[in-house]
Amino acid sequence: MNTLNAGDSIITYNQSESSLTFEGSMRLANMKEYDVVSQFLKTSSESSTDTLILDLQPLQFLNSSGITTLSLFILNCKKKGNPKITVLGNESISWQQKSIANFKKLWNEVEIKI
């Protein structure tokens, strides 16, 4: 397992399950500060299987720069055609209930489970 600390959040990549789990509160200052997250997502996706799971269930907060970072990652996967993305959300966390469906609007093949 590889992990990345980003502010008050931890991202864990589990290669055997081809999943990235986001925990805590991710509210970094701007897109530049999210570069390290983008790089971690990119590296993880390169060693994942055909489908990559983005597990956001334990993520209490994600600011708009973070949503943009995940969105650009999904758009990049769409451009390459792989990996396919499954997003796991938590309906008891309001921002997820309201905004998580946006990822599917970027790429129709994204599967949302909430």
């Binding site: 970094l28 701007n30 907060f61 600011n63 720069s65 943009t68 905004s99 609007k105 970027l106």
Partner: protein, 183 residues
């Protein structure tokens, strides 16, 4: 002094008495230097208003998200020194009005005004969201979707007023947002 107003500014004017009236002033440099303070302030504001609601944990996450985006924007695009960011929150029964005030240089004023006009006049917010993200370059430092997500996903009503300050060449930006608390 030139004044320009966009969107639903003064939808609920200040002359109407409110409950839960909270005002905070902070220097942008104190937020830029310690960014986590934006989230700390957002969580405070959210806890203050949410605990009186029927679904406190639901409202706490929503109000914190809204406040955080507004304070992040106000501090990021402010002149950094000798200026303040003001946040004024008022509760009108089931409507939470959050007003931010900050001073911004001319260069950002033009960009923000264009963005807010596009946002308040858009017919299809999903289309604007997709278009905005598709146009992002790798080098940009702004997400550009913070206010857009609040209007699109949280049904926030938003208005803005810009006042040109001739002495400094800066603009005073007042953004009013209205969150209709879901019952």
């Amino acid at each position: 002094m030139l004044i320009d107003t966009i969107g639903e500014f003064d939808k609920i004017p200040d002359s109407i008495p409110a409950e839960g009236d909270v005002a905070i002033k902070v220097r942008p440099i104190d937020l830029i230097a310690y960014w986590k303070r934006c989230g700390i302030m957002a969580d405070f504001a959210a806890a203050f208003y949410a605990y009186t609601q029927d679904q406190p944990s639901v409202q706490e996450n929503i109000i914190s998200t809204i406040f955080n985006e507004l304070i992040e924007n106000a501090s990021k695009y402010s002149v950094k020194r000798n200026a303040e960011v003001g946040i004024h929150m008022k509760l009108y029964n089931t409507v939470l009005k959050i007003q931010t005030e900050n001073y911004t240089p001319e260069s950002h004023f033009q960009k923000l005004r264009k963005h807010l006009k596009e946002l308040t006049e858009a017919k299809d917010l999903d289309e604007l969201y997709i278009k905005t993200l598709a146009a992002k370059s790798d080098t940009t430092s702004d997400s550009g979707i913070g206010l857009l997500l609040l209007v699109k996903d949280y049904n926030l009503k938003i208005g803005a007023q810009f006042r040109h300050i001739e002495e400094t060449g800066q603009y005073k930006v007042t953004i009013q947002s209205y969150y209709y608390i879901e019952q």
